[in-house]
């Protein structure tokens, strides 16, 4: 596994542990934020990429062009590059008189052989130390810094109280939103939730299957969008820990190793998405527990107040005096968490409450995205199938091409694609050199035929002459055999993938 991913997993594990240990929303926010950190491109590069690696094509001003400045010979540069201080025993011819005169100290030309043995080793070690140093800094930034802030939040009394206040505030906001959302879901008593839950599961099954089959990061993103969209739209959500786990899963799925611009853009968008998700998990507070608690409270209030409940309607923002006492000690764990959730009834008769006047643009945007995704989803399998059919038609057309050169190239390319898919490939090596490796991985007989075909391919690709029909037939036979041999080797699922996705 890549080092960067390992680091991420370690931190993730720690974060998840802390998450369950510390049941306080404020702390959880901080935890989630730290989990989002590695998804921000600049930060990720700073932490994980090797600082010793140089960007190709960039030459700093301090490095002079050796051709124009004539400095590329050892012994002509600054002291320290090609010379060393004089040591007793150095031959006089080796003394660099010019530099000695300039630096007022006798300097000896360093021999390149010496450098290649001793100094280069040392340089390598130095470079290694530099990397290790930067790693250490990265570790401090990444692990110790969030940990220190967490510790402060938990241990410093003032901060703890402030965190408590923050939590109160969050719950107020969440309750306000609840009062807005709740009337949208007026249902008769005794309505079963199973059909709807089943439908939801079915919806997720499609993208999930696609994600597994196609290993597409885009699908993961779509899936994530769904999770967010549904929760926001229906106002009921999974427990927040489940949410966090889900989005981290997607995040990991989407995290690439390549440092390309596109990759970074994808990760950046992901970070934005996760930020939205975090906001929606914690600020509305619409998890199931809250939901049921406020429902209970509403019933209670209705019992007490009877039909006069409508009088509360005038209360602006529906909540005003809710206060919770928070003790942020982690020791109390679940018990304290439960006590936080005993909400005071916030308002009654929500059935008649109309929504706020202003439009919730975030909500609208998410709904639009959701609708678009829902529209595309049913057609996705057809799109994939269609694409496949088109590709098959194109390649077979190439095989039958009147120009035998193109045909042989295409057929041979397909053979290589098959070998690559079954890990018998040898990457960037010229095809004529593949035969050796194939002798071991496939069979000597096959390697022989492959070598013959490779020669035909080379002629077709490079000579500008069209090979004969027999070459095309031979190549087609090789392709057929390759298919058969490799399909025999593959096990069930692999065979399915080979046949329908990797090689057409």
């Amino acid at each position: 596994m890549k080092k960067s991913l390992t680091g991420y997993f370690v931190w993730l594990f720690a974060a998840v542990c802390l998450y369950f240990f510390e049941n306080n929303p404020g702390t959880r926010i901080v935890l989630c934020l730290t989990a989002v950190f590695p998804l921000i491109p600049g930060f990720r590069r700073a932490v994980f990429s090797c600082p010793g690696r140089k960007e190709p094509g960039k030459r700093t001003n301090s490095e002079k062009d050796p051709l124009t400045s004539g400095q590329y010979l050892p012994g002509k540069g600054d002291p320290g590059v090609g010379v060393r201080p004089y040591a007793p025993g150095d031959p006089a011819a080796r003394i660099h008189w010019k530099l000695s005169a300039r630096y007022d100290e006798i300097l000896t030309r360093a021999e390149e052989l010496e450098q290649s043995d001793g100094e280069r080793e040392k340089e390598k070690k130095d470079a290694g130390d530099g990397t290790a140093g930067k790693r250490r800094i990265a570790f401090c930034l990444y692990i110790l810094w969030p940990a220190a802030i967490l510790a402060c939040l938990l241990l410093v009394p003032g901060l703890r109280r402030s965190a408590g206040a923050l939590c109160n505030r969050i719950f107020e906001e969440s309750e306000r939103l609840n009062t807005y959302l709740y009337p949208r879901f007026a249902v008769p008593d005794g309505q079963g939730i199973l059909p709807a839950a089943g439908c939801l599961c079915l919806i997720f099954a499609g993208p999930l299957a696609a994600m597994i089959l196609m290993r597409s990061r885009l699908t993961a993103l779509c899936f994530m969008l769904f999770t967010v969209g549904f929760q926001v739209y229906f106002g009921l959500s999974l427990p927040s820990w489940m949410n966090a786990a889900l989005f981290l899963l997607f995040a990991l799925w989407c995290m690439g190793n390549r440092e390309t611009i596109r990759e970074n853009a994808r990760i950046l968008s992901l970070a934005v998405l996760s930020a939205i998700l975090v906001t929606y998990i914690f600020f509305p507070g619409v998890n199931a527990a809250t939901e049921s608690a406020s429902e209970r409270a509403r019933d209670l209030m209705a019992d007490i107040a009877g039909t006069d409940a409508g009088a509360f309607l005038d209360l602006p923002g529906a909540v005003s005096e809710t206060r919770h006492t928070h003790d942020l000690s982690p020791m109390e764990g679940e018990a304290s968490a439960r006590s936080e959730r005993e909400y005071r009834p916030v308002s009654v008769g929500e059935q008649q409450i109309s929504g706020p006047e202003r439009t919730d643009w975030v909500r609208v945007l998410l709904l639009v995205l959701l609708a678009a995704a829902l529209l595309i989803l049913p057609f996705l399998p057809f799109l994939v199938l269609n694409e496949r059919r088109k590709k098959v038609r194109e390649t077979t057309a190439l095989f039958e091409n009147g120009d035998t050169a193109e045909a042989v190239c295409a057929i041979f390319g397909r053979v290589i694609a098959w070998l690559d898919a079954m890990d018998c490939g040898q990457g960037n090596l010229p095809c004529r050199d593949w035969a050796q490796g194939l002798e071991q991985t496939v069979s000597p007989d096959y390697a022989l035929r492959f070598a013959r075909c490779a020669a035909a391919f080379e002629e077709a690709a490079y000579s500008g002459r069209a090979p004969g029909e027999d070459k095309r037939r031979e190549a087609l036979e090789l392709l057929k055999d390759t298919r058969n041999i490799l399909l025999q080797r593959a096990d069930g699922f692999r065979r399915f993938r080979l046949r329908y996705f990797d090689c057409l």
Partner: protein
């Protein structure tokens, strides 16, 4: 490998055993009209190899021992005043009138002498006092150099390094080869037994044939990508020159010809890339890389033209 080349290799093997591949490479460089730089520690048979080769191909050969006081006029010749006619007479130097120049320990020569070699190597001509004299055809320089750092040597200027088609090194022989070598020299001198198996005219003919080998656009594209990648490599301060790219193409052609083809393929370029280009790469100070490592890197990260040709003929 073509039959005629094999016979030359057999002859040379009488003197140097176990270095067949290196000898083949030198021969191919010769066919590609390029010069050869042999780079090694003293005593592994660089000079013996060059002498044996020149005997086997039946070309005239002259050996020039480079020392710090060999002058440019020793190589290119000089004009002398003739009192009887009252005019200047040109006296040819060591480079004139021979096919193969064996420059021994070229990196011990002073820089002005080395620069006198530049014109001879590139344009196959020498200029003395404003008059240009063409050199013999074919003209080949096999230069040997001791590893830089040995006493009294200096690194060759980059411009001169660039003019050698390939840089090769022999390395120490293995156990069997050294035993053979010692046994062969018991009471006789194998160098005497080398016959000329490839007359000079045929060499010229072969050179002509090599130059008719064609390189398709796919191969030229590969060469260009390789050389450009070398200029952008992180550990490299001076990458492969356009001349290097030209030489790479020529060496690949010779290789293809030796393989009985009249077109080059990607594998040809790949095979000769290390020998042709490792001395053209100038590494940054303290990059901790070797030229060989960079070469490997470049070959690894540059997509082979084979892979680009799968969807039919290569198109730009």
């Amino acid at each position: 490998m073509r039959r005629r080349l094999e016979t030359v290799l057999d002859e040379v093997e009488k003197v140097i055993s176990g270095k067949r591949e290196t000898v083949a490479k030198i021969l191919l460089a010769f066919l590609a009209r390029g010069h050869v730089l042999l780079d090694d520690v003293p005593g592994v048979g660089k000079t013996t190899l060059a002498t044996a080769l020149s005997r086997a191909v039946g070309l005239s050969c002259r050996r020039v021992q480079f020392t710090p006081d060999v002058m440019p006029s020793d190589l290119a010749g000089f004009s002398m005043y003739d009192r009887s006619t009252g005019s200047f007479v040109y006296r040819p130097g060591a480079l004139c009138g021979v096919n193969i120049i064996m420059g021994d320990e070229i990196n011990r020569a002073s820089s002005k002498t080395q620069s006198a070699l530049l014109e001879a190597m590139e344009e196959k001509q020498v200029t003395v006092d404003g008059t240009t004299y063409p050199l013999e055809k074919p003209f080949l320089v096999i230069a040997t150099q001791n590893s830089v750092g040995a006493a009294g040597t200096q690194a060759l200027p980059y411009a001169q390094m660039d003019r050698f088609l390939v840089r090769l090194s022999l390395g120490y022989p293995d156990y069997e080869s050294q035993m053979t070598m010692l046994k062969d020299r018991q009471g006789r001198e194998p160098m005497e037994e080398i016959r000329c198996v490839l007359p000079g005219e045929e060499v010229a003919q072969m050179q002509k044939e090599v130059s008719t080998v064609t390189s398709s656009d796919a191969v030229l594209d590969y060469i260009t990508r390789l050389t450009m990648a070398s200029r952008e490599h992180g550990a490299v301060s001076v990458g492969i020159s356009p001349r290097g790219a030209l030489f790479l193409d020529r060496a690949a052609k010779a290789r293809a010809w030796a393989d009985d083809r009249d077109y080059t393929v990607g594998a040809d370029v790949r095979d000769v890339f290390g020998d042709v280009c490792s001395h053209r790469i100038l590494l940054k100070d303290g990059s901790g890389e070797t030229a060989e490592g960079v070469i490997k890197d470049l070959l690894k990260m540059t997509e082979s033209p084979d892979r680009r040709s799968f969807s039919g003929r290569w198109k730009a």
